[in-house]
Symmetry: C2
Subunit: 182 residues, 2 copies
DNA sequence: AGCCGATTGTTCCTAGTAGGAATGGCCGTG
DNA sequence: CACGGCCATTCCTACTAGGAACAATCGGCT
């Protein structure tokens, strides 16, 4: 069914291309990377540049994307086959569990080894980082609004924020529990 | 400061050993794996078996763990140096952002490509999986209570549940938004 | 006693991934 | 017209995932 087994990352990129299918120009790998940084990032780690090109090559071999012949940089577009393949992948086959690597939570788990003050200061730092990233994202969303991008992009940005709020809540929750301990 | 740069995974294992330091026997790699599956898993992907042994070797070379000489399987314990090192790592140096690979959210992001029914059924499946995993974890927590393990272990299990509730909420939130769309 | 399957304990191998460095073209600005 | 910065891509290397393979041990069953 899923012909040459592609990674979820490949499908994520394919998805980005599908959302851009109105645009006859297509996207370069570089542009995809930026798009991925702004939209996928909070649900699926943004792949490294080199990784994007690797995945694009695979997608290209499988004929799920095509590059319009031009003299400039390669610009990719989804093929019809690609869209079908994405559909298939979306709703058939294993979905799998989320993978999380949460460096703050990891440290909190070892909270017994440290003073509340130490934990508190680490949390403050992290929450500041989160806030900064959130502000970034907010900026991006506003920008998208101005430029009248597809509504979808804005929605994704919203979700990004939603997730980020939740995460802060999780961290705050952990902290409370920790303080509740003697 | 951080001598031979160890991975977060290595520190996670070191942490598990610290929590077990009352036990003069130490733990085998195999036992560590099980412990990791039950406690770390929801905050830091449980490393593969082979990975655990690799990290233990590194920790051993750095003298952060020692293996009691015995004829049976290797049993590891933290050294004093190891505890100090963990302390240092916990509160100095870069913490970094969480890494998430969320296959369900990834699919939801592409929701425009599919019908609400399709999305709904995918979500049901995933939430069932979550519930199953949650039940597992609940079982583990009860078990830990019976055996009068360190209070900490129970706390970790609690956190695991807390996180899992949150995640289900996130997914539910995404779903609502999605249904709110025309 | 002998066999079988499950669990413990560890190593090995291979494909995949991260992510920084290197390269080179193009564009605007002082 | 030099310089820094962005665009675009490739390359390299170290690390990671994770399954397969290999033993040894233990318990129960016939």
């Amino acid at each position: 069914m899923v012909n040459p087994a592609l990674s979820p990352t490949a499908y994520a990129l394919l998805g980005l291309l599908v959302f851009d299918r109105e645009n006859p120009e297509g996207m370069t790998g570089y542009e995809l990377k930026q798009r991925a940084d702004f939209t996928l990032r909070y649900y699926w780690v943004s792949p490294a540049m080199s990784q994007i090109y690797t995945e694009l090559r695979k997608l290209s071999e499988a004929e799920f994307v095509e590059t319009a012949p031009s003299d400039g940089p390669a610009r990719y577009r989804v093929t019809e086959l690609g869209e079908e393949q994405l559909q298939t992948w979306l709703f058939h086959g294993e979905v799998g569990f989320p993978i999380l690597k949460h460096p703050v939570a990891l440290r909190l788990l070892m909270g017994r080894l440290s003073t509340p003050d130490q934990l508190g200061s680490m949390l403050e730092t992290h929450l500041d980082d989160l806030a900064a990233r959130r502000a970034d994202l907010q900026g991006v969303r506003d920008m998208l609004g101005d430029e009248h991008r597809v509504r979808y992009a804005a929605m994704v940005a919203d979700w990004g924020l939603a997730y980020y709020d939740s995460e802060a809540q999780i961290v705050a929750g952990l902290r409370e529990r920790l303080e509740g301990m003697d």
